[in-house]
Assembly symmetry: C2
Homo-oligomer: 230 residues x 2
DNA sequence: CGGTCGCAGATTGTCTACAATCTTGCTGCT
DNA sequence: AGCAGCAAGATTGTAGACAATCTGCGACCG
């Protein structure tokens, strides 16, 4: 197990693998995960596994309580609300920062990512569609090249991906609509920053509505389970 | 070394101690720190020490390169610029979020923290003044109770504290002025959110100017050293 | 004299074993 | 029957030894 890839520490690679495992639904939100279990699952020792789990804890995908256990992040409606309001703030900030220096490379990258999103939707691959949608939105953050902003976006992105992936598994096909980002891309390449900011607000409001409805259904279901238990 | 405090993991306690050590100037920005050295320094093994260092890496106070070493964050002017623009965005967002639900507890807490700041300034304790100023600003973030926002503020706060503490040691007494937050507190308790937002922008602009001048002097000095070396 | 190869030291990465802590289910008492 | 206390299992926390990797200096060669 010592000779596979180089140039990156084992813990970091494991972090990627574990994130994929969580987002692909191998572990549901609320599931307990253990260091030993995952270490066995990936064929490594607890040390690097611990490092990987710590990384996902920072992203917010895992929550741990000392000496007790670690679980996959559980969805709550207040979290969703916090995330979306925060995301409006940050994405508007990102576009304000980059608006004046959108160059040819930016335009091409945006169109490329939009194309990737459309391809994923046409292929009917919902998991890849979710990834592509977040990649599309991520371009503005990446272009800022602001370390703290990127970290915040990473935390937001991880949570959104977790929610949407769970949503997809629970309710079947429910990826982004094909025309959902036409306005976003058009205005992002346009001349009016104010119009773009309005579009972001609208876009988020729509997303919040859909996600919130899902989380509410999950919470109702859980409350039902709890009631039945007592 | 096993029986000191309970209810909190050793790594977390070490994180606090190490942060204090860095901010108090025991390690200067750019200094190399080693796991073994710090473990010896604090009388623990490398395991918990590693956990503590990882925590500070997440906050941004330490930067590490695999298999090579770890150093205290080095100041750059682009970082300062990023931090302040980000901080304007987030602090305005925080006040927008809490504006309608500022209650009596909030007002009392704000005045209490302002009082603590004034006491620290009057006592001539610059380190405590820096801490108190950041506590004062932190109230808005804490009142939001938004996990991602708090994490972002933590990263910003750690960097600011690092810069200002280094500033203080380099140029002697240079803590916040006694009247520097009168407007901030008055408007935060006032009726106009727009005026408060303008105050935040002004406040940050002033802070950015001072900090930037300091960082520029540091960079000039470092360039001079580099030139002399070659 | 300049450049390149290689070795030694230092540092982080990884592994295994052991200790501290929490949870859970059972047992015995009231 | 219900509850208190305890014991066993599980899980994370901690320790120390060993391996992989990087950096820098010095010797050797052109």
């Amino acid at each position: 197990m010592t000779s596979m890839i180089r140039r990156e520490t084992m813990g970091a690679q494991l972090g990627g693998l574990l994130r994929s495992a969580i987002l692909s639904g191998e572990f549901e939100p609320g599931d307990a995960v253990t260091e030993t279990g995952l270490a066995l699952r990936f064929g490594v020792s607890r040390g690097p596994m611990r490092e990987a789990m710590r990384q996902l804890m920072d992203e917010g995908l895992l929550v741990t309580v000392p000496y007790t256990g670690t679980r996959v992040l559980q969805l709550t409606s207040t979290d969703i609300d916090d995330i979306y309001s925060m995301r409006i703030c940050l994405e508007i900030f990102a576009f304000e920062q980059i608006w004046a220096r959108r160059d040819q490379a930016f335009r091409e990258a945006l169109l490329a990512r939009h194309h990737a999103l459309l391809s994923a939707i046409d292929a009917g691959d919902d998991i890849r569609s979710i990834d592509a949608e977040l990649d599309l939105h991520g371009l503005a953050y990446e272009t800022c090249a602001n370390g703290i902003l990127l970290t915040s976006w990473g935390a937001i992105r991880a949570r959104l991906q977790l929610y949407w992936a769970a949503h997809h598994r629970a309710h079947g096909i429910m990826g982004p609509k094909r025309e959902s980002h036409d306005d976003y891309v058009r205005l992002a390449l346009g001349d009016s920053c104010e119009q773009m900011k309005d579009e972001i607000r609208d876009h988020m409001r729509r997303g919040l509505g859909k996600t919130m409805a899902f989380v509410a259904s999950i919470e109702a279901e859980k409350a039902e389970t709890n009631r039945r238990m007592t």
